[in-house]
Amino acid sequence: MRSVLIFMILFAVTGIGEVNAQDMQHQHDHKQETLKAGNIQSDYSLYHLDSEFITHRGEGVKLSEFSGEPVIVVMFYGNCTQVCPILIQDSWRLYSSLSETAKTTVNVLAVSFDTENDSPEVLAEYAKDEQLDISGWHFVTGKDADIRMLAMMLGVKYQKDSSGNFAHSNLISVLDAEGNVVKRVEGLNQPMDEAASVIETISQRSEQMN
C-alpha cells in the first residue's frame, strides 16, 4: 500500500515538474523578444511634443492635431516576423470591440521605430496588406530623434540588434482628449475590456463637447 502511494505521489510530482519546466522555458524565450515598458509621467501630455510625423498617406501630422479625441498608440516595425503582427492584431481587437460611435472618434497611431526601412510608401503597402488602410488608422514614421522621444514619453523601449531586428516593449497606450496616457496594456493577447471602456468614456465626453 505504501509503495503504491509513493509511486503515485512521485508520478504526480514529476508531472507538475514538467509543466513548471515548460512555463520557465516560455518565460525565457519571451524575455529574448521583449523589453519591459518603462514608467511614465501620466499627467504629462504627449501633445507637448511639437515634432511632425508622416503618415502612410504621405501627410505631415503633429500629435496635437488629435486633441479632443481618444487615441490608441502602438509602436512596431514592419519587417517584424515575431510579435508585431500580433501587436497590430491586438490593436485591431481593441478597435473592433468599440461601439460604432467610438470608432468614428478614435484615432489609431501605429508608429514605426524602424525609420530606416519603414518609409511612408512601405507603410502604405503594410496598411493595405493588413487591410487597415481605413479611416482613423494612421501608420506613422518620422525622424529618428522624434520617434525616440515619443517612445520615451510612452515608456516604449526598443533596441536594434545586429541582424536588423528590434527587441522592444509590447505596449498599447490610450490617450485622452488632452493627450495624457490614461491606459496602458502591456503584453500580447491581453484582455481589452478596460481599455475599450476608457475609450468609450472619452469618446462620449468628446461627443458632448461637440
Binding site: 502511494l5 508531472g15 510579435v83 500580433i86 487597415l132 493577447n189
Partner: protein
Amino acid sequence: MKSYIIAVLFIVSGMSLTLHAFPTDTLTVHVLGTAEDARFEPSVIQVQPGEVIKFEVLAGLHTVTAYHPDNRRPQRIPDDAVPFDSGMLKAGDIWFLKPEVKGVYDYFCLPHERMGHAGRLLVGDVDTLPAYSDGRIPSTVIENLKRETQLILNQ
C-alpha cells in the same frame, strides 16, 4: 492509514480530471520554423466535422488564424463556421480547434503569412474547392495550399 487512502483518492481524482481536460482522440499539426522556414506540418489535412485538431508549437512564435474579415483577411472558411485566432503561441504551447461545419478552412500565421505560412483543413468529404477570394493574400500562400491540397486529393 485512513489519511493515506484519502490522499490516494485525492491524487487519483486529480489525475482523472487532468486527463479529461484534454481531448485524447486528436489529429496533430506541428507548427515550427522561425522565419522563411515557418510552416504547418502537415499544411493540409482532412478531418471529419467535430474532430479535434491539436496544434503543437515546436519552435518560434506563431498564431493559428482563420482567413476571415474578423482577422482582416478575405473569408476563406465556410459561411456558418466560427472564425478563430489562437493568439500568440510559443514553443511548447498547444492549441485545439474543433471545426463543426463541413467545408474548406484556410488559416495562416500572423507573423509569417508573407513567407507563405498557412494551412488548410478539409472538413468532411470535400469534392470541389470553393472559389474563395484571394484578396491581397501573398501568392506563396495560395500556391502552397493549391499544391498540397492536390496531393491530398490525388491520394
